[in-house]
């Protein structure tokens, strides 16, 4: 309870700081991740946008099925490419680090868990739907592409495609 109070106090102080034009923007989004199994998994996205439109993003989704727990976390850093004639639409490119975690917890076998890390790139689009006062609403279509080991020499890749709708607040 104490930790929660401190966290809320910290957040309140942060929001109370007078906002400056072009300051940091916090984003929280609902995302849907397509990762190659004909399913679209719901997840969350947390983002931090700086004054130069550089983004730091954290995507997370997880599920439990039977004795297995699966969680995927992707940390990404994006630069904005202002290439389109509409200022609301931006192309993004950057680097991604993914951690895929799988745990087996069954009474029939010893507990086992693995972390699988992958470094890749991300490319995508961001569309600012709405901007009001310090609030923003963005839609994103972003793909994180990872090399499939040495098979990348033959252009073999894996991809996580993420569709996001996020609300932002500029500090």
């Amino acid at each position: 309870m104490q930790r929660l109070r401190r966290a809320l106090l910290g957040l309140g102080l942060l929001l109370a700081v007078p906002s400056q034009a072009g300051a940091w923007t916090l984003q929280y989004g609902q995302s849907y991740i397509e990762q190659g199994d004909f399913l679209v998994q719901p997840g969350i996205q947390l983002g931090l946008l700086d004054a130069k439109d550089r983004r730091y993003r954290f995507d997370f989704y997880g599920r439990r099925f039977g004795s297995f727990t699966e969680a995927t976390a992707i940390v990404g850093f994006d630069e904005t490419l202002k290439i389109f004639p509409w200022p609301e639409l931006k192309a993004l490119y950057g680097l991604s680090l993914m951690d895929q975690y799988i745990q087996r917890d069954s009474p029939l076998a010893p507990k086992k868990e693995i972390h699988s890390f992958n470094l890749g790139v991300n490319l995508g689009l961001d569309w600012r739907l709405l901007s009001y006062d310090q609030w923003t609403l963005d839609a994103g279509w972003n793909s994180h592409i990872f090399a499939a080991g040495f098979a990348f020499l033959l252009l073999t890749t894996a991809r996580k495609s993420i569709f996001t709708l996020s609300v932002g607040y500029t500090l």
Binding site: E34, G36, F38, L81, A91, L123, W141, T157, R159
Partner: protein, 155 residues
């Protein structure tokens, strides 16, 4: 494998025929791009590129006009038409067209990000392109993508 070579040849013949039939566009300057790379056929990642590169699904031909309108001809993800924008040697494109995947034929929209090198041999440039598509086909929503490399000829 025996039929791959002739299929590829027919693919190029059909692509050039489609380009030639759009006479007003052919008369204007532009560029012709030929890139190769394995597509994601339906869902998930891609298989290795064919060696030798005679598998028709790995190939893409694009015709870009001097107004930066692009026409994409490929077996996967299909036939697309759209607009390209350049920033130095990078480009981004937005397209719409006919989506072709292992789930059948449908409609889709595409977004591409690519890079051209400087010119060599007067009119050639090397190129790398990532293209992601969102569409609907026989089994519902599809999200194929391609990562392809190749050559651009400017005329």
């Amino acid at each position: 494998m025996k039929t791959e070579g002739p299929r590829l040849a027919w693919f190029f013949r059909l692509s050039f025929l489609l380009i030639l039939t759009t006479k007003p566009l052919v008369l204007s300057a532009g560029s012709l791009e030929v890139v190769i790379g394995p597509p994601s056929l339906g869902q998930g990642g891609s298989n290795p590129v064919s060696i030798p590169p005679i598998n028709i699904i790995d190939w893409q031909v694009a015709y870009v006009t001097d107004a930066n309108r692009e026409m994409i001809f490929s077996l996967v993800p299909g036939l697309f038409y759209g607009q390209r924008w350049y920033l130095d040697q990078f480009y981004a494109a937005l397209d719409a067209g006919i989506l072709v995947t292992t789930s059948g034929v449908g409609l889709g929209v595409a977004e591409a990000l690519g890079y051209h090198t400087g010119t060599f041999w007067k009119r050639l440039r090397a190129q790398v392109e990532y293209r992601q598509i969102l569409g609907i086909a026989g089994y519902g929503l599809q999200y194929p993508y391609t990562l392809r490399m190749g050559v651009t000829y400017e005329f």
